[in-house]
């Protein structure tokens, strides 16, 4: 015996699957009723001729009854949805130009939004891969009198903080170290990390294999090491034998005790070997340092402690500690910075939100354009809607149909946009700025796909809403007055379209002004003199093997390497410096001899060692005195070349050549240096940062363990010489690790990569926005002329000249674009101040940018109106009036 459920399912499925048959039956059934009714009328005495009409009248609306029956079906909503879907697709196929233009512009906008979201999500939104990452903070030493922010700290201070603080559950220290890994055939330079044993437990990170080292093992200075997942794969092929194996670091064996998880990093330190922080050779001296040193500090807040509370407590501790520090050091503070904020600085954050906002504006403009097109079409479809209403479709039903149609459009766009996004994400990962943290985590995952879906649907709603509203506002009576060719056709839809065009222009202006300001900043950055000429220069890093432990041996090594390289054909000059690109400089005490005797002061200062031809190879001009030469050997008096910033600061208005200075306070043990030359300032911390005072001493007098080599070549493709240069070094010392071979221009490029990234993206977005706005106004004017042909004909018939018509049309277009321009300028002015920290050498209200953009936009709007206006001039009054 069939159950009720069975009957219900059969009925629902039958009317859904065998829809045609069911419809046919319904028709038959009602027709049968009508026939019977007719016969009944005849039987009751109606005239045979009147009977059919009478039966019809009594029966009621045939189609309405059918529609009411259909409404009772269980799967009716699904059925309607599918029908709307089909009609949506048919509609698109029927007007291919509209479909292609709309889908392409929406797909581009959705694709760009998806890519941008994937970046924002990976870089800003997703939590860091540690346990309770929101409790983690970086702790920095700062000294306002030295303009020192985010300075690294000394071990002694960290121990004091740790024991006195209530806010922090624990604090750990780490530092990056360069390590030489000696393998079977070749030595390799790798990034190492020196970490306190509590770092991994503090972060909540477990080795995937093996274990962490203990506090006791660290105290005993055992040579234990954890290695990265990457090194594990490369060296050991991911084999379990790695645990317990020995690797040779800086010439000494270390035992591997653990493998870290894939991609493990801390505060952008992505090292291959992680050692106890106690191993370094100068441990004793470093432990006695108070104030600033080189340790990074990360702390974990206790539960329910805020960063503000922690900051307040740390400031109090720091001021207590100041009393125990040397007199020159008593202005130290501590700053507590959430780890997530440290990872991505406020500038990058701002830039990403700005780009995200910009690309969303592009989507809004694209949606406004498509909505405007759909509105224009909806006026033409007024009759269709009236007929549907007459056949029993309610207002809600018609709105649902229009929304479904536009959602079809945007979902198709969304699919294509997602494909574009896949390509876009590849591009971003390949060419995005490498110094933007976590960019390597960008991927097309479910969250990103979800976002693409959400914005597609929302866009569909936006696009469908305008036609739906105007359709509802219009009477759905079948009179079709508005659907006819009357002058007032679609008056309300034209108002909405005008508003859309104004909004498009306003948004485009905001983007253009932003892009303009960034481009101007970019020009400023590009025109900065770096203090050296990077073109045709090849850079490489060179480490001295551990056998070269004496300074004299290293000096000799570097001397012979330079000799060999100089002999390679195509090399113009070659030089060596300890480290060309520097991060935050350390502050130190400096004593200089001036007119009024020796003065000691503490300042941020950089000290390096250079070979004789270094400045020549880099093209840094000598302002006074001389370069180094062979006379500045190990036994000669200590001499120094200083940069202009140092000269200006310590000997303002005087010739510093011949003056003396020493590192440390007046009574320090160090030697006095005599200034022999002054060179131009080199921007070694990035183009946008003012150079700090710098000194260079002779490489022969103090050769470091690893150096940067710069070779000026006579060929534009300096990288092509890498092989010959490598061979030249190998001839001197077979085991010396060479790495980081790259053209200097490329290395310099990473400094401006982020600026280039944001500038080119925003410029691209704003150009697309401008083009879309131009298409929008063109479409509107074109349509407005099409619906006003009669009016124009009439005007011409009563004496208007072609020029008058032309001016009328242009005026209409310019009114809209200028309104948008005014609104956009206000918006740009307001937003510009919020983003002013992204600018360089230009103010957020730069009049030149605002004026250029205004002119550009007006020109584009005028051009977009010009062609339809020309066509309007050619309207033949007779033809136009006949159409009436």
């Amino acid at each position: 015996m069939p159950t009720r459920l069975h009957h219900r399912v059969v009925a629902a499925l039958r009317s859904f699957v065998h829809r045609d048959a069911v419809e046919h039956e319904l028709d038959d059934e009602l027709r049968f009723h009508l026939e019977q009714l007719e016969a009944h009328q005849v039987a009751r005495g109606s005239a045979r001729t009147d009977a059919p009409l009478e039966a019809r009248r009594r029966f009621g609306g045939f189609e309405q009854v059918k529609e009411a029956c259909r409404d009772m079906r269980t799967l009716r909503p699904l059925e309607e949805f599918l029908r709307d879907l089909r009609s949506g697709v048919r509609l698109l196929v029927r007007s291919p130009v509209f479909a292609v233009v709309s889908i392409l512009s929406l797909a581009l906008a959705i694709g760009a939004n998806t890519v941008m979201f994937s970046v924002v999500d990976a870089v800003l939104l997703r939590p860091l891969p540690y346990r309770f990452p929101e409790q983690l903070a970086m702790l920095w030493t700062e000294d306002p009198t030295q303009n020192l922010r985010e300075g690294r700290s000394a071990h002694w201070n960290v121990e004091q903080w740790r024991s006195q603080s209530q806010s922090f559950a624990d604090m750990a220290t780490f530092d990056a170290v360069s390590k030489t890994l000696t393998g079977a055939d070749e030595a390799e330079q790798i990034v190492g990390a020196s970490i306190s044993p509590n770092l991994l437990p503090l972060l909540g990170v477990q080795p995937v294999q093996g274990r962490n080292f203990s506090t006791e093992e660290a105290e005993q200075r055992q040579r234990l090491v954890l290695i990265s997942h990457r090194l594990w794969q490369a060296r050991f092929g991911g084999s379990n034998d790695a645990i317990g194996a020995t690797i040779v670091l800086d010439g000494l064996p270390s035992q591997i005790i653990g493998i870290l998880p894939v991609g493990f990093q801390i505060a952008r330190l992505d090292a291959d070997v992680w050692e106890p922080h106690t191993i370094s050779e100068d441990r004793e001296t470093r432990n006695s340092v108070r104030g600033g040193d080189t340790w990074f500090v990360v702390g974990r807040l206790r539960p329910n402690v805020t960063f503000d509370q922690a900051q307040a407590e740390m400031s109090a501790i720091a001021s207590r500690l100041n009393d125990q520090l040397p007199a020159a050091d008593r202005n130290r503070g501590v700053s507590v910075v959430p780890l997530s904020r440290h990872m991505v600085g406020s500038q990058s954050r701002l830039a990403l939100w700005m780009l995200g906002g910009a690309v969303f504006c592009v989507l809004l403009i694209a949606a406004a354009n498509v909505a405007s097109l759909a509105l224009a079409r909806s006026v033409g479809r007024a009759r269709e809607m009236a007929v549907r209403a007459a056949l029993g479709a309610g207002a809600g039903r018609i709105v649902r149909q229009l929304l479904t149609e536009s959602v079809v459009l945007t979902v198709v766009s969304g699919l294509i946009g997602t494909l574009l996004a896949v390509a876009g994400i590849r591009l971003i990962r390949a060419y995005g700025p490498g110094n933007l943290a976590r960019l390597n985590e960008v991927s097309l995952d479910l969250r990103v796909l979800g976002w693409a879906l959400v914005i597609s649907l929302l866009t569909g709603m936006l696009v469908g809403l305008a036609p739906a509203i105007t359709t509802l506002r219009r009477d759905l009576r079948p009179s079709g007055e508005e659907g006819g060719r009357s002058i007032s056709a679609g008056a309300s839809s034209r108002r909405i379209r005008r508003a859309l065009v104004v909004a498009e222009f306003a948004l485009a202006i905001v983007l253009l002004v932003g892009a303009g300001l960034l481009v101007r900043s970019w020009w400023h950055v590009e025109s900065i003199d770096a203090g050296f000429r990077p073109e045709r220069v090849l850079a490489m890093e060179l480490s001295s093997p551990s056998a070269f432990s004496l300074p004299a041996q290293r000096a000799d090594l570097y001397h012979r390497v330079l000799e060999q390289i100089g002999a390679v054909p195509g090399v113009e000059s070659a030089g060596i410096i300890g480290d060309l690109f520097i991060g935050n400089t350390r502050e130190q005490v400096l004593t200089t001899e001036g007119d009024n005797g020796a003065v000691s002061e503490r300042l941020r200062f950089q000290r390096d060692e250079v070979s004789a031809d270094f400045f020549k190879a880099l093209g840094t001009p000598l302002l006074r005195g001389r370069f180094f030469s062979v006379v500045d050997g190990p036994d000669a008096p200590r001499v120094a070349i200083i940069n202009d910033a140092f000269a200006r600061r310590s000997w303002p208005g005087r010739d510093p050549v011949g003056r003396r200075f020493k590192l440390g306070p007046r009574d320090a043990d160090g030697p006095w240096y005599t200034v022999v030359g002054v060179v131009a300032d080199m921007r070694r911390q990035g183009l946008e940062r003012e150079p700090v005072p710098q000194m260079f001493e002779s490489l022969a007098q103090n050769p470091p363990r690893s150096v940067d080599l710069f070779i000026r070549t006579s060929t534009d493709d300096s990288l092509a010489m890498a092989g010959a240069l490598r061979a030249a070094v190998r001839r001197v010392e077979k085991h010396a690790p060479i790495y980081g071979v790259a053209p200097l221009e490329e290395q310099l490029g990473t400094y401006v990569a982020q600026r280039r990234f944001q500038t080119s993206l925003l410029t691209g977005f704003s150009v697309v926005a401008l083009l879309m706005a131009a298409v929008g106004i063109y479409g509107l004017i074109q349509y407005s002329i099409a619906t006003r042909t009669q009016e124009i004909g009439l005007r011409m018939a009563i004496g208007a000249q072609a020029g008058d018509i032309f001016r009328m049309i242009i005026a209409e277009g310019l009114t809209l674009s200028l309104t948008g321009l005014a609104l956009g300028l206000v918006g740009a002015w307001w937003l510009g101040r919020a983003g002013s920290s992204l600018l360089f050498g230009v103010t957020a209200t730069d009049p030149l940018t605002f004026m250029t953009v205004s002119l550009l936009l007006t020109a584009v709007a005028a051009a977009a109106c010009y062609f339809p206006a020309r066509r309007a001039m050619k309207v033949e009054p007779i033809v136009a009036l006949r159409q009436a």
């Binding site: 009720r4 009957h7 219900r8 009317s15 059934e29 049968f32 009723h33 019977q36 009621g60 269980t74």
Partner: protein, 109 residues
């Protein structure tokens, strides 16, 4: 379109179910039967009847089958399902209570 029967939607359902207890019937037959039994008081318009039949069928109270009439014309015959019978009992009971209550109030002295 005004449909007076809409007000009595639940009532119409009971009438249809009750009518079908005797034998399977087509829509026109149901119309006639209700009209006859009620002494021409109740007129069921197609605009109310057919949507009601469609709903009852989708609710699983009745089921439909095509068959030939006495005059040799094919028509759609509706018959009560077992669940429909129970439903009728429930609705009839409810109707009695309701109409009894209304009658009591209307006849109050």
């Amino acid at each position: 379109m005004a449909r007076p029967a809409d007000l009595l939607q639940g009532t119409l359902d009971v009438l249809i179910l009750k009518t079908l207890t005797l034998e399977p019937m087509h829509g026109w037959g149901i119309t006639l039967r209700i009209q006859q039994i009620s002494g021409e008081v109740l007129q069921v318009r197609p605009g109310a009847l057919y949507p009601a039949l469609s709903r009852l069928e989708h609710q699983g109270w009745i089921t439909a089958k095509w068959a030939t009439t006495e005059a040799g014309r094919r028509a759609k015959y509706y018959s009560l399902t077992r669940a429909g019978r129970h439903q009728l009992e429930r609705e009839a009971e409810q109707w009695r209570r309701l109409s009894g209550a209304v009658t009591t109030i209307v006849d109050m002295a």
